[in-house]
Every structure is written in C-alpha cells, then in structure tokens.
Amino acid sequence: MNGVNKVESYEGEWMRPGHYACPGCGVAIAMRLALKALGKKTILVIVPSCSAAIAAPFPNTSLGVSGFHTAFETAAPAAAGIAHSLDIRGKKDITVVACAGDGGTFDIGLQSLSGAADRNENLIYLCFDNEAYMNTGIQVSSATPNGAWTVTSPSGSIGRKKRFMDIIVAHRIPYAATASIGFPEDYMEKVKKARTIKGLKFIHIFTPCPTGWRMAENLTGNAAILAVESGIFQLYEVFEGKRYQLSYEPSRLPVSEYLKIQGRYRHLNEDQVLRMQTEVDEEWERLTKRTKGCL
C-alpha cells in the first residue's frame, strides 16, 4: 500500500538508532523516552518538525509504532480523527499521540490545538520545545526567548516567548504538564499518567538543541538540567485547568549559569542578563502562588 513500510522493534524500545537527528538532539531523546513510556499500543501523528526528520525518510523509519506524517498545523486534529475512529471501533487500549515542535504548537498549530482542546479530544499532545524553527534551519518562533539569536533574529529575538502553558490551561483540559529531558523519570511518569486520563493531555517538553543554541552536542543534558535548576523552565502539572502541582523544587542557580554555555546568548550584556533574571524570579513567584492555590 502507498506510503507504508514495515517496521520492527527492539525489546522495550520503540525508536531505533540510525535516525536523522543532529548529534546531541534533545527531541530524539524526548521521542525515545516517550515511546518507552507509551509502549506498543501507540499511534503517532507527526508534523513537519525535527521529529519528522527523526522518523523518516521513506522507505525507512526509526519508529517501531505506526505513524502518520500530516501537515504542519494539524497535529491535534489529525490525532483526534484517529482517536474518534478508535473510539467508534471500540479499540480503547490504543493511545494516539500528537508530536509537534514549538513552531507547530505555539504558532501555526495553535488554532487547531485550541479547537481540539476545547472539544477535549482523547489524545496526548507532546510539544517538543527547542525554542525556534530548528528543522528548517534556526528561524525565530513565538517560543524563542527574548534576546536569543536565530538566523531570522540576528540581533536577538524581540518576542518574549509565549506563556504557552497559560494558554493551554485556559482550555481547562484534564491534564497539562511540563517536562524536561534532563529529568527523564519525571517526564516518563507524566507520559504514563497522561495515558490513563481520558481527554486532551498536553505535555510541554523542554528539548535543548545544540545546533540551534550554538553549543557543543555533549551539553544537551547539562542545558536541560540548568534550565530547570535556574528556574528558566519550571516543572509542574495542572489538573482540570485549576490545581497546580510542582514536580521539582529547583536550586535556583543564577540564570547566567544557563545562558553562558549557549552561543545564542553570547551577545547579551549585563543589563539584559539581569533583566532576564528578574523576569525568571517573577515567573517563579507566580508559579509558587499557583501551586499554593493563591492565584
């Protein structure tokens, strides 16, 4: 049949080596861990993104489960269509998972994700956030942090990175969480938890990108951990759009510790770094109020 190639799997692993990711790719790690947590009875929907490069090309695939490579802005509705079919045919034990990057989620796929979240479609949505359009060669997205270099923001992004979790939580979906490949057990537990909940589950995963962040490929894990420890990326869960629960209490290292290993922030002056620290402190206060039920 057209567009179809047979795939096999390793014991307990549903993504094979030999894929097309760059060395040190955070998204490849995130996909592998998610599939380990999800297991065989999974159908993936993938959109143009680094995950699409990792999954293909024809006639090969690194995936050990079925996948559908759909259009850029359609991760959520394409997954929802499959979920409806499974529901109608009584196949309740199969999980449909939409995989998209930050561009496919924060930008072009926002409308269709919002629609799917509003209808509470039964799927897991994994957003692999590497903070720019990396698959097309490092262009700025609305997930790119303020000041960060990309090819299309050569003097630093003027955007501020959307507070995407706020947007998705406003839909009052049953489960929304953030995760990081620097904290793999926490991440996999969240994927497993999402699998048991009916409705739309959204997981925002922080996936450092050595190629786009201008850092050595052996620093992916460090960057992921430093982002969490500095408070740049917070790990938490939100249930039913209201109850916030902190997943990890960070040591609150200075933000500069995280910034200094990345070439994309090399041009920042002291004032800019200070401003970033202030913003991180404010965001942390905001999350703390929420986890204590004060906001």
Partner: protein
C-alpha cells in the same frame, strides 16, 4: 412515494442512510443546513457514528482524512472559502488514498464577497486528486452521495459531490428516497481499510525521493483513470436497485445536432428547456451535460461531439487569464481526437446570476450566426 426536500437535507439523509461513522463540519453559507440537519439527526440518535463541531474547515477535513485512514466511513461538507481553506488537506486525502466523500455547495470565492453559486471554488480544486461529480438537481445529489461512497471505497480516492448554492442546496423538489435496507444492500462490502494496525505498524506519508514521488503520483493517476470503469459499474448496480442512472456525461438530442450546448450543474435543467424550445423553432441543437469532471470523460465527450459543427460551452466559472474552465477542458479533450468542431466559450451566471432559458437560446442563436469563435470567452451580463 415522492417526498419534498431541499438538496442540503437530501444530502443529510444520504449521510444517515450510508451509516457514515464520523462527520466533521464547520458552518458556511450555503452548505450550513447540511451541518445543521446532521446535528439534529445526531441529537435524535439517528446517526450511526459521531460528529465533531470543529473550529475550522481545515480541521474538519484533517479529522476526516485521519479518521478514514483509521478505517471508518467519514463525511464533511463545505463551500467556497471553506473549501479554499481545506485546499492543503485535499492533497493529503488523495495522497493517502482516503475514500472520503465530501459535498461541496458551489459559492463564489471572495474578493469581492458573494453568496451566489459559482463553480470556481470547486474547479480550483481540480488538481487535488479528488473525483468531482457536478450534479444537476436534488435527486442526483442524493443518489451521487450514495454512489460516491461505493466508488471511493473501491478505488481508494476521495469524492467531491458538487451542487449549486441555493439553486440546488435550498430549492425544494419532489424526490425519491431509498429504503434504508436497500442502501445497506447497495453499500454492503464497502469499507475503508484500517491503516494503523498495531501488530503491523506502518509510517504513512513519509518523505520520499523524486523517483518514489513520481511512482506515487503515477499510481494515483492510473487509478483515477481506472475509476471510470468503477463509476460505470457502480452506476449500473445502483440502477438495478433504484432504477435511476446518470452517466459520466448525458446527451440530449445530439445525434443529428449541428450545434451542441455543453453545461454542468443546475444550469443543465435550464439548458434542457432551451434545447426543447430551439428544436421547436427548427434548430438542430443538442445538449451535452458533463457530470463527472475528474476523471475527465474525454472519450464520452469525443463521442458526443461526433459530427457536430459547433460546440458552445456555458461556464459558471472562470479562470482569469484563460477562460471558462469546462470550455478549456472540452477543447483539450477533443484536441488530437477524431472530432474537430468549432468551440465557442461563454461565461454566464457567475455569483448566482440567473441564466434563463431565453438567455441560453440567445447564446445558441448567436453561435449559429457566428462564423468562427472568438479567442476569448463572451461574457453574459455584468456591466
């Protein structure tokens, strides 16, 4: 017994009777009453499947494509801007060999805005790999939706069943509705294959090299041509049960005709009246109705125009920079063929402008007088 129904309500009834398992839709005039009627049916628990009230046509078609790839019968309906928004995913439907059926109610495309019927919306989707059936009246729309499921599920290409906004979608006509049991019999055995088998995993619509890309396209092209045979078979089977048939094209009084008028959609009904009137006046005039536009019935068109001196194609659509789209297609179909009539192009009825029998008769008289066709189409009406 005949029952009164609008074209849109007839579509909803066909969807219910075809036991469609999933419907996704979004409101747009003049399609909306299909969506509303199906919603009412769902509320009354008359539907086999479920429904999604999506946030855009783009998501409607996306959900339909992936749901049908996952093994169920699906439906959507749209018009004009909605169809234009779906454009990207129309290619995904045919490229992934989804057998979905969609009803498109013709409406003019902005800008400027208009709600009236105009085929440019669906004809602009000509190259997306969908079968296209332009229907003349409510009965034909109803029958064609039912046939389209069987055709699409056999050939694994999607179908667009097309009707004129308001003239067909909203006009109420006496119709024959089939018994549910007869439709069960007619559609038995058809099914959409499940493409996501857990035990036999697949990766669908991957990135391919140029050679493989060509192979996929060529296969789709060949299958679209093969669809002609399937369309004929399905129509024959439909005729056995329901006693009605249409053909990919229909000819009226073409055998001895000197001039043949070519129409599609609702305008054909008016064309029939015009031909009858012109015949009474002693003109040897015939009518060729083109129902199936993709795959294009070039053999049938050639046959219908054998011995004809002049052909006049009336287009309720226009390709800016070229002319009427049916006219161009007829010209290219007879090029290098055994027939060689003069082909006259007229643009008439855009945005739902009424094209009366008198207007059509006037066009034929003009063509009769005119030695040779103009290079550019003649515009009927407008300033």
């Amino acid at each position: 017994m005949k029952k009164l129904s609008s074209g849109n309500y007839a579509v909803a009834e066909a969807v219910r009777q075809a036991k469609v398992q999933f419907i996704a839709a979004y409101p747009i005039t003049p399609q909306t009453s299909i969506y509303e009627k199906i919603s009412e049916m769902e509320a009354q628990a008359l539907l086999t499947g479920s429904m999604a009230r999506v946030e855009s046509e783009h998501s409607a078609i996306t959900m339909c494509v992936s749901a049908s790839m996952a093994g169920i019968r699906v439906f959507s309906a749209t018009s004009s801007q909605g169809l234009a928004l779906m454009h990207e995913m129309l290619h995904f439907a045919s490229g992934n060999r989804s057998p979905m059926v969609m009803v498109c109610v013709n409406r003019a495309i902005a800008a400027p805005w208009s709600l009236g019927t105009d085929q440019t919306d669906t004809l602009a989707q000509r190259d997306t790999g969908w079968m296209q059936f332009y229907c003349e009246d409510n009965q034909e729309v109803y029958d064609t939706v039912l046939q389209a499921y069987k055709i699409s599920e056999k050939i694994l290409l999607p179908s667009m069943v097309i009707m004129d906004g308001f003239f067909t979608s909203h006009f109420i006509e006496p119709m024959d509705f089939a018994d549910d049991a007869d439709i069960d019999q007619f559609l038995s055995g058809s099914a959409s294959p499940d493409r996501f088998d857990i035990e036999n995993p697949t990766y669908i619509s991957s990135l391919v090299n140029a050679n493989d890309y060509l192979a996929f396209k060529k296969r789709k092209f060949t299958d679209m041509e093969a669809a002609k045979e399937v369309i004929a078979e399905v129509e024959e089977e439909f005729k056995q049960i329901f006693k009605r048939s249409y053909g990919m094209v229909e000819t009226v009084e073409t055998n001895d005709a000197e001039i043949v008028m070519v129409t599609s959609g609702a305008m054909t009904s008016t064309g029939r009246v015009a031909i009858e009137s012109l015949r009474k006046k002693g003109l040897r005039v015939g009518l060729l109705k083109i129902k199936t536009f993709r795959p294009f019935p070039y053999e049938e068109v050639e046959e219908a125009l054998r011995g004809v001196r002049k052909v006049v194609v009336i287009d309720r659509n226009v390709s800016i920079g070229k002319g009427g789209i049916f006219c161009s297609e007829v010209q290219s179909a007879i090029n290098n063929s055994s027939v060689n009539p003069l082909v006259y192009g007229y643009i008439a009825g855009l945005a739902g402008m009424d094209v009366s029998s008198g207007v059509l008769e006037g066009i034929v008289m003009e063509v009769q007088e005119k030695e040779s066709p103009d290079r550019l189409p003649v515009w009927v009406g407008g300033n």
